[in-house]
Symmetry: none
Amino acid sequence: MDNQATKMYLQIVRELRLLIQSENIKPGGKLPSERELVERLKVGRSTVREALRSLELLGLIETKRGEGTFLTDFRNHKLVEILSTFILQDLKTVKDVHITRQTLEKEAIRIVSGSPVLIDLPVWDSLLTQLSEEGKVHREDIIRELLILSNNRLSLKMWFLLKQYGEEPYQGYSDVTENVYIQQLLQAIKDGEIEQAVQSYNAWTDLLTKGRENV
Amino acid sequence: MDNQATKMYLQIVRELRLLIQSENIKPGGKLPSERELVERLKVGRSTVREALRSLELLGLIETKRGEGTFLTDFRNHKLVEILSTFILQDLKTVKDVHITRQTLEKEAIRIVSGSPVLIDLPVWDSLLTQLSEEGKVHREDIIRELLILSNNRLSLKMWFLLKQYGEEPYQGYSDVTENVYIQQLLQAIKDGEIEQAVQSYNAWTDLLTKGRENV
DNA sequence: TCACATTGAGTGGTCAGACCACTATGCAAA
DNA sequence: TTTGCATAGTGGTCTGACCACTCAATGTGA
C-alpha cells in the first residue's frame, strides 16, 4: 500500500506535531481520539497506536483508558519539550548535528578536566592501559564516560539523541595516529590540562572526520 | 484478561530486556521475530509491535523489513539501562538547563571569534557604540547575534528552547561592572581572541548568576 | 426536590487474522 | 558452475472484534 521509505508511524508522529500546533493543544490538553485520528489521517488504528505508544514511552503524551490521550503536562519537565523537537522535527543538516554533538562533548571534557576529583578517577589509567595493551579503545566508550561524569543529565540526554539521529561519522579508523591522540586526550584529562585536552579531542575528531567527504 | 495497572507493552519492553540478557543477544544481533514473540509471550502481535515501535523510536532497536529486528549497535547494553532510567524518571535541574545553554553560547563565541569573516562584521562596533552611548545593551541581543552568526540551526533551535523553557536567570542587572565585561567580550571577538572572549563571557555570566543566588 | 443507581456512549487496551512488500535461501534450469 | 525463480519468512499495515474503564445523561425512589 505504501512504498514510502519513511515508516508510517513516524509520519504520524510528524502529523501529530502539526496537529498539536495547528489546533493549539496545550500541555495537559486532550488529543483527538485514536478512532478520530484514524479517520483524519486515513490510516489503520494499530498504526496510530504505534505512534502514540512511542510518544508515550518518551513521556510526551499520557493515555488514560476510558478518557483519552493527553499532552503531558511538562510545566515542570521542560526536558521533554526539548526532546520532542528532536523527535518530532527533522534534523536535516547532518553537519549541524555533528557539530552540536561535538560541542557537548567538548564541554564535558572541559568540565571533567577541570575537576580535581574527576581527573583522579582510576578510569583514565584503566583506559590508557587498555589502549596500550589491546591497541584500541572505542571512541564512544570514552566520550560516554566523559558525558556521564560531567553530570549534566540534559546534556547527556541530548548527546544520546544526537548520537542516534545523526549517523555515526566516525568509522573504525583505528591506527597508530588515532591512538596517539587518544592517549594525549586521556593524559591531558589526568593532568587537568583543560585546553590541551580539548586540543587533543579536536585533533582526534578531525582525523576521524577527514576520512569523510567535504560534508 | 489483563487487569494489570502496568500496560502490556511496557511489560513486553521488560520481557525483551530479560530475553536479550538471557539469550545474550549482542548489539547488531537479531531478536526473535514478531510472530515468535507472540507465541513466547502469549500476547497479540499488535501489542508486541507497540513495544518494538517504542524501542525503535528510542533508537534501541532497528527493524528491517523482510529481514528482522536487530539490537542497535551499541557497545554496552548499559546504555539500555541508562536510557530506561531516563524514561522512567526525569530528574532535571534548572541548573542543567543553564549550563547546557551556556555551553551552546560559549561554542558560538568560539566559532565566531575564530572566523576572520565574522569578526570583521560591523555589528561589533555597532554594539560597542551602543554600549558607550546608551550605557546598556541587552544580553540577549548579543547572544542571539552570536548564535545566528555561528550558523548552526540546530544549536540555535536548542538555544531558543532552553531560553524559553528554562527561566531567565539574567535580568536587568546593568551596572558599570557588567558593561566592562561586555566591552571586553565584544573587543575580544573583534580581535579574534577566542579564549579571551570566552573568559570575558564567563566573567560576565558569573556576575549575573552571582547576583541571583542571593535572592 | 434531592440523592443515588442505572445505562449508554466514548475511549483506550488487546487480540486475531488477513494482505502487502521485501529479503534471503535453496533448488532447478541453462 | 552460474543464473533465475519460486518460496518461506519477516516486518508493515489494515480491519473488525471484544474488553475494561470513565463520564455524564438519565432514570428512579425516598
